[in-house]
Symmetry: C2
Subunit: 243 residues, 2 copies
DNA sequence: ATTTAATGGTGTAATTTTTACACCCTATAT
DNA sequence: ATATAGGGTGTAAAAATTACACCATTAAAT
C-alpha cells in the first residue's frame, strides 16, 4: 500500500505553499461525429509527428498550462482541423499509465456532433497533422495510441444519448426532412425503424417546427422541411442539462 | 489564437523523443454515496492541511506518476477514509485554471455507492484528513475548492442513472425489503412513489430474488427480504456496460 | 404524352406499459 | 385484547408502443 508521499509543503511567500508536482502531461482528444450521405462519420487526422507518425488518429494535443481543458479542446481541434465553434462535451478521461509510449499522458476526451455539409474545408493549421478528413465509423482503420478505445467509448455514449438528448439535430442541416432524421437514427442505432411510428413519435414531442419550404434538387417528390425548435424543446424538457 | 508551441522534440536515445511538459498536477476526488436511515449521505473529510485547512471536502488527493487514475482513486479513498474495494466510476474531469488556489490542478472525479451499515469504522490513514464522516446530501455545508460543484454533478449523474442502471442495490444491504428499496428511490428522486406500482414494476423486471427470510428485530409485521440477482440482471439487459 | 423510378406521406387496431387508487393482514408491545 | 406500525395485494382507465400497406407526387427517361 503506497501512502501519499510527496507532499512537502514549502513556504514561499507569506501565504503561498508550493504544490507537490512531477512531470506530467495532459492532453485532450476529440471525437467529432458528422453525418453525410446516410453514413455516420468521424473526423481523423493523419499524424505528421512521432510517435505514430503517418498513422491516423483522433485530433488531439497537449493542454497548455493557462487554459481550461474545455478551452484547450476548442483550440486544439481548430489547430488540427480548422474547425471551430463546436459544442464539445467532455465524456471520459483516459489515465492508464502506459497509454502513451513516451511518458505519462492523461487525456480528457471530448465529443461533438456537427453538420458536415456547409463546413469550410478541413485544413490543419499546425504541422502536427498532415491532413484532416472524414471517415465512416464502420470500417475504421487502426488508430494511434488508444484512440480506438476512445472512439468506442464515445460511440457508445452518443448511441445511448440519442434517445434522451436532442443531439441528432446537431448532425443534420438546419432544415431537414423527417426521412433524413430517421436515417440518422437508423445509422446510429444500426437498425431499421418503422416510418409511420417514427414520424408519429417525433412529431408528438412538439419540438419540430414544420416549415413552408420543401426540399429542392431531388428527382422525386420533394419532402417538407422541418427545423428543430430549441426553445420549445427546453420548455418541454425543463432544460435538463447534461454534464 | 494560440498555436501549439512548446513541442520541441529532443533526441535522447536512438528512438526516444522527450515529451513537452510543464509543472502540472492531477488529482482525483471521490463522491461516495451511502444510504442510512432513509437518507442519502456522502462521505466527507475534514481537511488537516492548507489550503482549506479545517474545511470539509470530498476525499481527494494527487495521483502518483506510476499509477493509473482508476488505481489512484482507490488508493486515495483508502488513505483518506479507510474504505477500500469499492467500485468507483469516473464521471467528469474538472479543469478550470483557477480551481485550486495554489496552482494548476486538474481533477478527475469518481463516484461510488456503498452500503453504510456493516462498513468498518471510518479512519483516515494519512494526516491529510483529520476525520472522515457521513453527511446527508440535503443541507450540505460549503465544501473546499469546487467540491460543491463536483458533488452536484455527481448527484445529477446518479439521479439520472438510477433508472437505467442497477445502482440502487449497491447502496442497500445485500438482503433488503421492497420498502427499503422504494425509500431509496424516493430519496434520490425526491418524490413519493406509489407502493403498489413500485412493487409491481420492480418485480416485473425479474432480477429480484425473493428469499425465504424475513426482516428481524422490528416491532411490526416483518417484511420479506430480497436479493439483487446480478446474473439475471446481466442476462436481461445484455450486459450493457457503462463508461 | 406516357411511363418509370424513387421517395413522400398517411391511419387504425392490438398490445403493452403506466397510472391511479384503498383496504385488510400480521407481528410486536402494552 | 387491543393498539400500533408497517406489510402486502388487484383492477380499471389511460397512455404509449407496436405492427402493418397503399396511394401521391415529382423529375427523368422514353
Amino acid at each position: 500500500m503506497t501512502i501519499i508521499n510527496n507532499y512537502q509543503p514549502e513556504i514561499i511567500g507569506v501565504l503561498e505553499v508550493k504544490l507537490p508536482t512531477f512531470d506530467s502531461v495532459f492532453s485532450v482528444d476529440c471525437v467529432i461525429f458528422g453525418f453525410e450521405a446516410g453514413e455516420l462519420k468521424i473526423l481523423l487526422i493523419e499524424r505528421n509527428e512521432e510517435p505514430f507518425k503517418d498513422w491516423f488518429a483522433l485530433p488531439g494535443y497537449i493542454v497548455e498550462q493557462d487554459e481550461s481543458i474545455d478551452d484547450a479542446a476548442e483550440r486544439i481541434l481548430y489547430e488540427l482541423t480548422g474547425l471551430r465553434d463546436l459544442h464539445m462535451q467532455q465524456f471520459h478521461t483516459f489515465g492508464e499509465v502506459n497509454r502513451h509510449p513516451q511518458g505519462r499522458v492523461i487525456t480528457v476526451a471530448y465529443y461533438a456532433l456537427i453538420r458536415i455539409n456547409g463546413q469550410k474545408e478541413l485544413r490543419p493549421i499546425t504541422q502536427y497533422a498532415r491532413k484532416a478528413f472524414w471517415h465512416p465509423v464502420n470500417e475504421l482503420p487502426k488508430l494511434a495510441f488508444d484512440h480506438s478505445e476512445i472512439f468506442n467509448t464515445a460511440f457508445n455514449k452518443i448511441r445511448r444519448r440519442l434517445n434522451y438528448q436532442p443531439i441528432a439535430f446537431e448532425l443534420l442541416p438546419e432544415k431537414f426532412t423527417l426521412t433524413q432524421l430517421q436515417s440518422l437514427y437508423e445509422a446510429v442505432e444500426n437498425k431499421k425503424l418503422d416510418k409511420r411510428n417514427f414520424r408519429k413519435k417525433m412529431l408528438s414531442y412538439g419540438f419540430l417546427k414544420e416549415l413552408d419550404e420543401k426540399q429542392k434538387g431531388v428527382s422525386y417528390r420533394a419532402a417538407k422541411l422541418y427545423k428543430f425548435d430549441r426553445r420549445k424543446y427546453a420548455k418541454i424538457f425543463h432544460n435538463e442539462t447534461e454534464k
